[in-house]
Symmetry: C2
Subunit: 740 residues, 2 copies
Amino acid sequence: MNRKLFATAILLMAFPFLSMAQNKRNGIKASPKRLFTIEDLIPGGSTYYQNSVPPSKYTAWWGDECLHLELDKVSIIDKKAYDGKTLFTLSDINDALGNQGTLSHLYSVSFPSERTEVLFSNYYNLFLVDWKEKKVVWSLPLDTAASATDFNEESRNLAFVKDNNLYVTNAEGKTSAVSTDGTLTLTYGESVHRDEFGISKGTFWSPDGSLLAFYRMDQSMVSAYPQVNISIPEATVRTGAESPSRAAQLDPDPYPMAGETSHKVSVGIYNVKTGKTIYLETGDPTDRYFTNIAWSPDAKTLYLIEVNRDQNHGHLDAYDAATGKLLGTLFEEHNSKYDEPLHPIEFLPWDSSRFIYQTRKDGYNHIYLYSLKGTQAKLECQLTKGAFEVISVTGFDKKNKTILYTSNEANPIGCAIYSVNMKGQRKLLSDKEGWHSPRLNANGTYLMDTWSAPEVARRYEVIATNGSLRHQYDDIQEPWGQFAVPEMKVGTIKAADGVTDLYYRLVLPTDFDPTKKYPAIVYVYGGPHAHNIDASRHWGVRGWDIWMAQNGYVMFCLDNRGSEHRGLDFEQATFRQLGVEEMKDQLKGVEFLKSLPYVDGDRLGVHGWSFGGFMTTSLMTTYPDVFKVGVAGGPVIDWKYYEVMYGERYMDTPQTNPEGYAKTSCLNKADQLKGRLLIIYGGNDPTCVPQHTLSFIRACIDAGTHPDLFTYPGDGHNMMGTDRVHLHEHISRYFDDFLK
Amino acid sequence: MNRKLFATAILLMAFPFLSMAQNKRNGIKASPKRLFTIEDLIPGGSTYYQNSVPPSKYTAWWGDECLHLELDKVSIIDKKAYDGKTLFTLSDINDALGNQGTLSHLYSVSFPSERTEVLFSNYYNLFLVDWKEKKVVWSLPLDTAASATDFNEESRNLAFVKDNNLYVTNAEGKTSAVSTDGTLTLTYGESVHRDEFGISKGTFWSPDGSLLAFYRMDQSMVSAYPQVNISIPEATVRTGAESPSRAAQLDPDPYPMAGETSHKVSVGIYNVKTGKTIYLETGDPTDRYFTNIAWSPDAKTLYLIEVNRDQNHGHLDAYDAATGKLLGTLFEEHNSKYDEPLHPIEFLPWDSSRFIYQTRKDGYNHIYLYSLKGTQAKLECQLTKGAFEVISVTGFDKKNKTILYTSNEANPIGCAIYSVNMKGQRKLLSDKEGWHSPRLNANGTYLMDTWSAPEVARRYEVIATNGSLRHQYDDIQEPWGQFAVPEMKVGTIKAADGVTDLYYRLVLPTDFDPTKKYPAIVYVYGGPHAHNIDASRHWGVRGWDIWMAQNGYVMFCLDNRGSEHRGLDFEQATFRQLGVEEMKDQLKGVEFLKSLPYVDGDRLGVHGWSFGGFMTTSLMTTYPDVFKVGVAGGPVIDWKYYEVMYGERYMDTPQTNPEGYAKTSCLNKADQLKGRLLIIYGGNDPTCVPQHTLSFIRACIDAGTHPDLFTYPGDGHNMMGTDRVHLHEHISRYFDDFLK
């Protein structure tokens, strides 16, 4: 269950593992005016992949060669011409496997070295096959009940979690238990701190794979939220001595709420050879966050950034990997609002005494170069600088000693690929337009750039990191080509502070008639670490916007202050009063909308999910005369019901910021509701627990106001698959009922 | 928490404890055309008692005198003239109490003897005061945390339950624990078997008060339904070692579902003098119902009717009250569908060797006279007979050796008062019209008859049980007199079987215009042990019907086969397939509705709660083209989620009647939903647990259909107080949105 709140709310992965089968075009020649069905536009729809997702190309790096992975063959992509030559086929692999197993496709194989060896798993085993010799070089059995598997290519050791305990299978196939006392509230090798602080996993191999750092999390002191499972399989229902029942069952989920007792995390290091585990000697882990774990290249030192519960102070600490003793603190960071380290340090591949670190200490996320002397770190220089943000560090070009990264330097809502050398000289490597996702080869010599732009569905380019080559390998056809796509506009308006530019996206109704008056719907997210408008395909528009535009609505979206990639001040404007400034910005958007001659200002709607559900509920109750209809999904209603890590970063605790919590609580505004407001929540939402929505419903009942309600029993924070289509039918129907 | 399902769903007590304060008329002279507000019509509304409930008179018997109890005085009701003379005042009582306590009103005092003694409690103590001598004759301290208190006037012993254990305070004020190991799943002295089989309490004093029979119920083997409490008081929220939390909390409720392991009940007898408890030697209590407990007049024998889990066989057993040994079985009852004994045997006050018993063995509930020889019971005669039902036995006229009872002999939808002598000769004592609720004095000489009829708001009559006197003491003014009350009609149509008469009630829109076409709403309950149409005030119309009629709807209600007071065949037509025949009858009602020239057959709605919520959901999904809009409240969705006692009586078990369960499950019809269906449930409903509604919502999502949903967090099976007003606003709005 993914507990990472807000990213998942708006970013739904559009890459199917097997899109090929769904991409077979039907033979009908479509008219250019074909209309969408909702199944075409919503992830989970039966024709979504066929009609809304540009088909993916699967690629992998093998040394300096870029490979095209297909169902039944792997070929070399010629860096100058389109077609490449076949390297091997699926039959070659299956011939090599013989009676050891079968592989069904080649989409997810990888190439750990420059030898003619391909690595893959077929669920039961991990195989390394020499395709030239047609033989299995090495294999490892896999536990089919394993999760969180983490393979180290260097040592060929494999870590995995099973029933809350951590195990390691070494290259010889011997499995050892790293822990044995795991329970639902004591986990080993799993992600911790609710995936905040950039944490997304719980195991960290040393470069050589001899040592495995891992998280241990004790949640026994955390209050469990009583989630309830209503779907008890009939097969388990029978009378008998043990009294099984079809009655709903409790599914308790440890959930520390803001200001309450939180979990305790420690970091262990397992030595594969000795089978021994040591723990970092951190002392009492109460109210401490251990984040951004990184290994020294020699595997002797483990680095992590510790953050205090207040989240206004971080320090980079070095621990002895052999003893667990603290070696020293390399540097500290302080921010009067909050400090949020998200990126582990990374050592330069060509100099193990220097590392880079990303921080927003000058107001924007930038790359800094440090040199190390023992446990002293010295800032050498700030490598990137300016009113833009480094979005991600892609890797290193060892030969030319440059760092590859992406940033929005060229366009605040774009993401292009750059290199920077040790003197801080930046070079644009990709097209400066659009949104780029590079994948670097191990040598650091080439990038495979997958990108899109408002008019570019998806393009694949091979780029030499030294800038000497940029070859368009493939340009995927726009799947919406056959449809009547509504007109979209992107621009900026001023925020409520009068100075900041905010980006908006406007989608006009299909068959737009400027002399008509249309109802308009604001789609809002509004929270940190997310954005809605960018320079990717169709400006990042949501399928539901298209659906509603086709149904006669003007669709509007505005990334208010607080959203991502616009710098620290932009984000921190919301501190200790989430929603307040965000709403002011959204009202600026409404002002703009109302200024459009074709918008009927008396028929405005608003919809958002998660933080956007909080925004929607807040807007409907704080400014009850603005919107006639709202649909809030999986909302935060009162930050006191939200979890410690995310909640306290932005809101501090209910004890230290009672005014902020009171001011932003929708419970205190339930009596102000005037318009029609539908609230929808996942019945087992582990992120915005049902208590949010249910408390608001209770408050409205007590206040005599009348929201509407729907739930998706058994679903979590987001609805997936066919539930997602149902959800958007439900949302759309509500606007049709009351706004149209 | 009252778990008795269905009665509470439609019968909301209209007698406030203190209606006086709310009955002060405001000075405004209302126009005859005044319209209702929803607050006037719905229980819980701010003006409901003032504008919809005929003010109550509080009365009590003192020997042959009928007393009028007022706030500050008690007077004798002259049986011939209207006004009576004051017997004593509140000051008299408080003077007598002196510093022992204070009494605030005289509405609920009683008169245990013909002495000048009045019995009352003031929350802290029970007092017996001689108003003539102005002194406290006797008093007993009360435990303010006690529940289920049961006072025996003869011995002045008091039984009560506290923290799941049973206690007795004797007349001298000494309290003894009858049990000490009570827990949430092991209760003493509380009602058992989920209030089925006529059970409504857990303690039974012997006539002389020397022995206390009581129920013990072990639910440790029963699956607990995971109810969740979302409202955690802020006061309990603080950080600390014990980690209190504002997170929702589990509130597990043992709930045996049909076909699953049920609870185990035993019957104990506590001897107040010896302090010893014996248990009836019943053997293993698994799957056995111990019902209808009754004492022999000499307190030597305890009678009960044991029913098997199949509920098709009952037997009246006699147990030795001193030893707990089974003395013998007096008689047995068998019914191929189900046997449902609801009335304990009652011994004739003038002959302790004879008792009466009510049973439906000839197809209608009638009174039978038995004589007792040792442990042999011999049927002497059937005292009442005919195609009508005895509704209740009121008591005995010792002098004339008659039994007082009510029945619907004169009118199938009425309830009048009769006497029957030992030869089976019946005599009508009350007005034959209307619905009568008699209260007999201890001597059996007089009745206080509180009654209403369609045109009679509430009337009080004193009736001599020998038929020599019938005096109208008071005739309460119709509180709707000042309002524009819509026209109501009651009549019969034929059931789907073509022969049975079914009663309907039609409410025409206020300001009815026969040339117009109106939308119509069917209000339905439809389950056993309940009816909607009777000969009481305004034909038993619901306030919400009036509200909707005022808003322009034709309101229709039909008591289908399966409902109460119409005989066993009428009720059992539904056996093993609840809803099937009931729906066929309701469709006959729809046919009738559509035949009315002023009903728009394309705008039909349906609403019901509990069994009526099941009927509504079933109708919307079984006959999807009939109703455009439905609102189902607290519904049963699948009988497999309903409890053992009620559920298995009508449906047998999922194991023995899989076809019946499958056929009646709304889960299997979720894909058929076409109209608009709003489902509403109490968030903590302990009767129709939330799993019903949530499973249906899940089934609809999976089937791609779109019901609507609302919940009342924290509420049980019915909404009370202001929540009930909110509920009816919500229901009404839904019909206004989609049916009007």
